[in-house]
Symmetry: C2
Subunit: 514 residues, 2 copies
């Protein structure tokens, strides 16, 4: 067995059975191994950002890692910004990068680069296999790392000769280290804090599963504390019958206002709230200067155990959590598409089990309120802030959950960073409905210009934030990549297109002109 085959067999032994790939010459033996070894689903991407973003989305929904297969330093570089988002989301990814044969690296060939150096800023673990005999065991370690709570980007670099040489060995799966449980004294301190006035339980990361939210709801019922989640969360279970919690707003002034009431804040899978950016003359920390924090559990700890302990300490076990009733906003009368008018239309389109991928940037402000009583759904957001994640994450979510509908809400500016995911959706027949929110501008930046203190931006500055010269035609773009598409310009057309898109089994793109 050569090293390539030992890699595939070891990944399968560790229950990694999906590979999102854009291979090159140095990966040809891995590609060949796919024919010898049954069980690994390989999904081709035309750009590496699709592969890494898909692996991110796959982790969030499958709760186990996928692998990638990327081509040397530049291929890894192309996948880096979505690895950044995955890292910030705590997604586990076995990120495999081919390298030149060991003997070739020193010759500084055209594609030679410092792969470890490129990988390190976005990876929790980086390792280069030294010989064929190591490849299987290194793969098992990479999976173990990827599975470490909350999930890690583990980059394994495989020189070509470790792939093509005989002497590979299949490695058994390695259990990840169990996540740390919360300190008992901190649990008591948190319970005391939450029982007081002006207290907030701030949740993030793994705390937003259905079960954990139910526990948080009991705690709120027992203590009277407020519940809130971080601005962005990798996956939030939402909808009728679940505990709904508001998010810290993105705009700095709204965030300051939302957090102003709280003097005691328990952090559970969340961090102390800070501004997305620094703004001149505004505080970096979003909480009151006198706020006390109880750092009960980080995202890397066992957030479920922390919530259970907190339920016990607050005597909340028998309490009833406030759960969201089923309710949908009325459909607006026939209207042009605006952030306000699209929200009820989208809320009404959500079906039981829909995976809602949110990359709305400036167009999504009305969605949380409109959708909170919708049928139960999973909400995936971007923790890393690097726009261009939504289409790729949707690919991975759809591969992970072929029986669920994916509804991707993508701003036009965001979608253009990594549009190539559309082709993979068509190739794999993935059940994704994409709504492109086409305001034809980097609209968020128009607000940010003012926020950072730019007075009276001139025409050249405004022009740098405009995407209307030429207008992007998303219907043509989608068709160019084999995805059916339609353009809508009012709420009635959007509602019809959403119904048709969600009914269709494969990908459909809707360009919503705002």
């Amino acid at each position: 067995m050569n090293g390539a085959e030992s890699l595939v067999r070891s990944l399968l032994a560790s229950d990694v059975d999906v590979c999102f790939t854009n291979p090159g010459t140095s990966e040809m033996h891995f590609v060949a191994a796919l024919d010898h070894v049954p069980g690994m689903r390989s999904v081709l991407a035309l750009f590496e950002g699709v592969a890494t973003g898909a692996a991110d989305g796959y982790w969030r929904m499958a709760r186990k890692p996928a692998s990638t297969l990327l081509h040397l330093g530049p291929g890894l570089a192309n996948g880096l910004s979505n690895l950044h988002n995955a890292k910030k989301a705590g997604s586990g990814i076995v990120n495999i990068v081919g390298e030149h044969a060991s003997t070739h690296i020193a010759l500084d060939a055209p594609l030679t680069a410092d792969i470890e150096g490129i990988a390190r800023p976005m990876s929790a673990w980086v390792h280069t296999s030294l010989s064929t005999a190591d490849v299987g065991a290194d793969a098992a370690r990479a999976v173990q790392q990827a599975r470490t709570t909350p999930g890690r980007v583990a980059t394994l670099i495989l020189p070509g000769d470790t792939a093509w040489t005989e002497g590979g060995a299949v490695a058994e799966a390695l259990a990840p280290e169990a996540p740390e449980r919360p300190d008992a004294a901190l649990v008591e301190e948190a319970a005391r804090a939450l029982a007081g006035e002006g207290s907030l339980l701030l949740l993030g990361a793994g705390a937003l599963t259905e079960e954990n939210l139910a526990l948080a709801g009991k705690i709120a019922a027992a203590t009277g504390c407020a519940l809130m989640s971080e601005w962005a969360n990798p996956r939030t279970e939402r909808g009728a019958g679940r505990v709904a919690i508001p998010r810290v707003p993105y705009p700095i002034d709204l965030a300051l206002k939302a957090l102003e009431p709280y003097g005691k804040i328990v952090l559970l899978g969340a961090r102390e709230p800070i501004g997305f950016f620094a703004y001149p003359g505004k505080p970096a920390r979003l909480t009151r200067p006198d706020a006390d924090f109880v750092p009960l559990a980080t995202a890397a700890m066992d957030t479920g155990a922390a919530l259970e302990a907190l339920v016990a300490a607050t005597g909340a076990a028998a309490k009833s959590a406030l759960i969201e009733a089923a309710s949908l906003p009325d459909l607006p009368p026939l209207s042009p598409l605006t952030p306000e008018t699209i929200a009820p239309v989208i809320a009404n389109a959500i079906r039981e089990g829909t995976i809602l991928v949110d990359e709305t940037v400036s167009s999504g402000g009305y969605l949380p309120a409109a959708t909170k009583g919708a049928p139960q759904h999973s909400l995936l957001q971007n923790n890393g802030g690097s726009i261009g994640y939504g289409l790729s994450v949707s690919v991975g979510a759809a591969v992970a959950c072929p029986d669920r509908k994916v509804l991707a809400l993508i701003s036009d500016g965001s979608g253009m960073y990594v549009p190539q995911g559309l082709w993979t959706m068509a190739r794999e027949g993935l059940d994704v409905t994409i709504v492109i929110l086409a305001n034809r501008a980097y609209n968020i930046l128009r607000g940010e210009l003012t926020n950072v203190g730019v007075q009276n931006p001139g025409p050249r500055a405004i022009d740098m934030l405009s995407l209307d010269r030429p207008t992007l035609d998303w219907v043509s773009l989608a068709r160019g990549m084999g995805v059916e598409a339609t353009r809508v310009e009012d709420t009635a057309q959007l509602a019809l297109a959403l119904d048709a898109g969600l009914e269709a089994p494969g990908p459909v793109l809707i360009e919503a002109v705002m």
Copy 2:
């Protein structure tokens, strides 16, 4: 004056007057400064790889650096693979990256990343400005670095507060260090080597200007040595009336054969030839094991001075170089499009001064012979091997040379890595004709499968190298980004479309189905 304005004014003082940009919040003050300071042409890209690739193409044609303006670590990451290509090509780029305000970095905001760490693998120089007062001087140093022979990627990282705070100062231009001249003893040794049997003068980098090629031609006439250039070169002046030199072939067996005759090789702007990849059972070095090298001048040295010295040492000053006569291949009879049939059609389309951007990968094998007697043109190739450079480099070349036609030959697989350059071409009305060579496969990899020793690849391996499920529709893709497009399927249609495309003043895309 705030730091942002001092940046723009200092770049202008150093003769950097083009900025390829995809800005975000942390760069808003620089965007605003464009309105206060006349003279900087800002070109918006929808993806950072377009900006970095455009800066590469701009350098090659303008012979001076452009700047970029990228958004934090992930924005830089998106531009990294084309920076890799620029680094390998020796292109000078002032790569400017916004960073969080100094006070914000430690808070680990969503977009926080190790920007210096991300930049380092692809940059010759990396610096973070420490205060507003430093920004202007740091910009001048970055330009000085970018201009250092043969050209360097200089990354300047600017924390937001250095941009928005008052106290900026405009810096004067700094002269780059003069490139080293060749050692006199080595010149003599090179002259002796070239006078012998089986000698080769291998050229690369700056040695391929029209003037330098003329000097090389004289040396060949005086000594009888062969002339050859590296497989890929950042810019080669070619066509009727110039000295034509063959390139080392890409396929390893052909390369070994082409270099077999030579026992004495003088390197002038070139490196010892090595395989693009390592292939099992084949040598990594492409020259005879007994070949002697004279390392006369690296790419970082004064290649023109080296050639002049070699002309003197070989007594070649009065010799006549063999120059290429004007000659064009006959147009083939009406034929389907193949690598062999497209070459004469393209050769006949080349006009005086055309800039030919070559990203043909497997489809370009017949082009060098077909085009060598065509009207004078500049050939831009990819030294870094990371495909997805061609459309972006074409943007920069067209911005640098508005009075010349750019003809970009792009393989379909390559074009899909960074297709967003099409939108910038439309926005700026750039005079680029793009031919997409649509063989609907990663065809080069089918050959590489065999080269690396994979026997009988199975259907799943072949499927990973196929781009025909679904078929990419480049006409739709181009129109989606505002570029006129047409599809051709035979040589007559291609010839007509090329004429029309080159006649039109703006961008036109031709999908050539092979």
